[in-house]
Amino acid sequence: MQRPTGAQDKSATEIVQKFLASLNGLHVEARIVKNEAETTEALRAIVSKAACRSVVVAGIPPRYAGAVTAALARVKVDFVEDLQKRPQKEAVGVLAAADAGVTWAVNGVALEGAILEVVYDDSAKLASSLPIIHIALLEASSVLRDLAEAMPLVGGIVRDAPATRKPIISFISGPSKTGDIEMRLLYGVHGPHTVHAIIMDWR
């Protein structure tokens, strides 16, 4: 059967550009950064502009940890991986009090403008759910064409995980929103009011 989502073969650059356009159309503030310095600057600028005082960080791979740590030098930072060693209540308290959550996305989905979050502890999911600001980092090379390409990957991740450690997976395509008041589109209900995507295309 033809692909109802209509994806055609596109070059990597085109896919990333489509991803960027889709995200911007969905009220996600997205940008492409080319190196470590640009990454640090982009993240620092978001956190500083929003006057964040405390940030929770989840799942950033070692290659990019330096850029993130440098960007957050002036704010209180809690890494979710460390929170997991503290009492549950305390950890949730820190997550709920944070001004922003910085999380890792394993993939981007160009056509639908979604980022794909795969975590194994609900505290990491809360880092992108509880704070008012969500900043997702992902690699430009990870951007997939569309949901039709992403869904089988999701299936694979779930299938391949051991029965005792199944992933918690979320596609996120924008700030939380509602149309429940006279059908007006309003952003920021229970989840983040603003979502940023930093797409890393380090050469």
């Binding site: 059967m1 989502t5 209509g6 709920a96 639908e112 999911k125 979320s170 596609f171 229970h190």
Partner: protein, 709 residues
């Protein structure tokens, strides 16, 4: 009249009187249709027809696969979850109560779940003193108001910002001003505390994936993510029909759902959960429970009439497009499940006595056309109507209109006396009180000389271009046979052989509208029998009446399945669709001035067949500029529905029509063109403009080729 019918009429009367709510609700539905249309226009590559086809195939197979529930359950257990197969809603609630008692739950937070609404989850827990709070904004509003959802996707679409502020004030215990941001802020702060302290989080699931025992939840507000992570216990309530075999199956269900529900490419959050994982490194006390609900679904699956309802993915698109639901709202046009798809669901899970609102359906067929799983909702509604009528009896007026063919025959045989009688006020008063035909409705006149008599001098035609059975239905045979003559002349001029078989009866639509499937089947079989010999000889079937083609394409294959119906479906065409490639061979002269555009109305039954495009092409070829005037739904006439007296007829019909009448008035058009005989009456009565069939917008062909039979 039964109590249920009486109650329906009372509710309908209230809905018709409450203009302010009705206007607001209609505007919401209009906006919902516009959101979907905007997405489809913005994303031309989003092939909604391919999505429909794919979803229909996979859902039908999944629903029929009785092994899926066990596979899904087994995989959840393998991943450490607990599964309960609930035969009834009562069983499900007993499980929830026992679970709540065992863990000492004081507070439950709930994400939006229509399946939990179906079993009256919060209400049942209230009775045993367990507090369960809805966390989706719309659901919270109606929970505080003590109502049921007015719409599947927009449960509080009927509430004004002022009413919402008042209800939210009650919920949070302080006054909240009627401003969007103030309401959102208050709700966020109030529910945040509940998320953080709740003992159990309850969610539904849009999809269950059997191969891994996972659920997929599609939400926008973000409450679903909190409900499924913060509380120690995550309880899922999923209808057994939601389970599909594989991950690949989920893609187009997600696409079809979001596009149809809200005009989104995807909802903001699509969350996949397979177990209740650790929170901050600890799994202490964290439990995962999945209730798989039957509650009448097995019975539906095994019933050939209703198994299609199980393909529903709860997008609400059928509600957005339903003309009478748009006026009446989901509290009149619904029980717990509202709208068109709510009719079969209510009849099957809550009982036939709760599904009396089926009679609000006017059989326009738009719900099937918009459905992203191509569910044949109109046929299921016809069946529910039939069952309700068998139980409670038929209305006199419905019986009258189901005899339209016989009555037309009689009126035609006695014309012009019948026309004189029908124009008399006294006759109409009697007809209204005895039969229930509204005296305010202009009725068409009847012609003594019928179509066959008029076309016999023209001969049957050469047949060099092909062979055609012309299907006049009632209007082009008894009321305006000249219309049929014009159509036949064009077909002959284009070189077709044309037959109008004497044994061909009317299409029988009112039998579907008023729930007499037995008679609809009889007429379908009879017509197919008549058509068979022509179909075998390669004839196509062509009609100027959209409903006739709709019946042949959409209804007869279900009523009389088989090779003949299938063949008839494939070769039945609306008149203008049939000749659209030959317009250059016709010398079309406009019968009205062409300096100004004509207004064009697309009949509902033409939408799924051609969308009206061929008729527009015909008018353009005759030199007209055409302006389509529409609001995406029905004009309200709906066959004979708008001729019936009272609220469940003329009044509701005109209320629906009013929205289209306003557009026609604003358009400034002086002439309206439409293919449907009944839409024509409605627009003419409602706007007072001249309304003609496209064939009457051109000069009649002066000559037809000499008969060569």
């Amino acid at each position: 009249m039964t109590n249920n019918r009486q109650a329906l009429l009372s509710k309908l009367r209230r809905s018709l009187k409450d203009k302010e709510s009705s206007e607001k609700f209609w505007a919401s539905m209009t906006k919902a249709r516009a959101n979907r249309a905007a997405l489809l226009a913005r994303e031309p590559q989003l092939d909604i027809h391919a999505i429909k086809e794919s979803n229909k195939a996979l859902k039908t197979a999944a629903v029929a696969n009785t092994g899926l529930v066990e596979e899904f359950a087994e995989n959840i257990r393998r991943n450490g979850g607990q599964v309960f197969l609930a035969k009834t809603g009562e069983d499900a609630m007993t499980y929830v109560e026992e679970l709540s008692k065992r863990v000492g739950a004081k507070l439950i937070v709930k994400a939006k779940s229509l399946t939990s609404d179906e079993i009256e989850f919060t209400h049942e827990l209230d009775k045993v003193g367990i507090r369960s709070v809805e966390t989706d904004l719309g659901e919270l509003i109606i929970q505080v108001a003590g109502e049921t959802p007015v719409h599947l996707v927009m449960p509080a679409a009927h509430k004004s910002v002022k009413q919402i502020a008042e209800l939210v004030s009650t919920a949070v215990g302080r006054e909240v001003p009627p401003e969007d941001q103030a309401i959102l802020g208050a709700v966020r702060a109030y529910l945040r505390q509940l998320f953080l302290t709740a003992d159990i989080g309850v969610s539904g699931a849009n999809i269950g994936v059997a191969e891994t025992g996972s659920i997929v939840i599609e939400t926008n507000e973000g409450n679903g993510r909190l409900v499924t992570s913060l509380p120690k216990i995550h309880l899922v309530i999923i209808g057994m029909e939601k389970i599909v075999p594989k991950w690949e199956d989920a893609t187009y269900l997600v696409k079809g759902h979001s596009a149809s529900a809200t005009g989104q490419n995807m909802t903001v959050y699509v969350t996949v959960i397979t177990q209740h994982g650790p929170l901050a490194g600890s799994t202490d006390g964290r439990e995962y429970h999945v209730i798989i609900l039957d509650n009448g679904r097995s019975k539906m699956r095994d019933d050939p009439w209703f198994s299609d309802a199980l393909n529903c993915i709860r997008c609400g698109a059928c509600m957005n497009v339903c003309p009478t639901y748009g006026i009446a709202g989901g509290h009149t046009f619904g029980y717990i499940y509202p709208g068109p798809i709510g009719i079969p669901w209510t009849a099957e899970v809550h009982g036939l006595d709760k599904a009396t609102f089926a009679h609000l359906c006017v059989s326009c067929g738009l719900c099937k056309e918009i459905c992203p799983v191509d569910i044949n909702i109109p046929m299921m509604i016809a069946k529910v109507k039939e069952e309700e009528v068998q139980e409670n009896g038929q209305l006199v007026v419905n019986d009258f209109f189901m005899a339209s063919e016989t009555l037309a025959k009689l009126a035609s045989a006695t014309a012009p006396a019948s026309n004189w009688l029908l124009r008399r006020e006294a006759t109409r008063v009697v007809m209204e009180s005895l039969v229930g035909v509204d005296r305010r409705r202009t009725l068409p006149s009847f012609s003594r000389k019928r179509l066959r008599a008029r076309i016999s001098p023209l001969g049957s035609g050469s047949g060099e271009a092909g062979k055609v059975v012309f299907f006049p239905d009632v209007y082009a045979d008894y009321n305006d046979p000249e219309l049929g003559v014009r159509a036949v002349k064009i077909l002959l001029a284009l070189g077709y052989r044309v037959e109008v078989p004497g044994a061909l009866r009317w299409s029988g639509m009112p039998y579907i509208s008023y729930g007499n499937i037995a008679k609809a089947t009889t007429v379908a079989k009879r017509n197919l029998e008549t058509l068979k010999e022509y179909l075998d000889q390669g004839y196509s079937v062509v009609s100027t009446e959209p409903t006739a083609v709709y019946m042949l394409r959409e209804v007869y294959p279900t009523l009389a399945p088989g090779e003949v119906a299938e063949k008839a479906r494939q070769v039945s065409f609306p008149f203008f669709g049939f000749i659209q490639g030959r317009l250059a061979d016709l010398e079309l002269k406009p019968a009205y001035p062409t300096d100004e555009a004509v207004g064009f109305h697309i009949p509902c039954h033409e939408r799924s067949v051609s969308g009206g495009r061929p008729a527009i092409g015909f008018l353009s070829a005759a030199g007209y500029k055409v302006q389509v005037v529409e609001n995406g739904t029905c004009c309200g006439m709906a066959g004979t529905f708008g001729m019936k007296h009272g609220d469940l007829g003329y009044n509701l019909s005109m209320e629906v029509g009013d929205h289209l009448f306003r557009l026609f008035r604003e358009s400034g058009r002086k002439l309206v063109v439409t293919e449907s005989s009944v839409c024509s009456m409605q627009i003419s009565d409602g706007v007072g403009l001249k309304v003609v069939h496209p064939l009457r917008a051109v000069e009649e062909l002066s000559t037809a080729p000499a008969p060569r039979t």
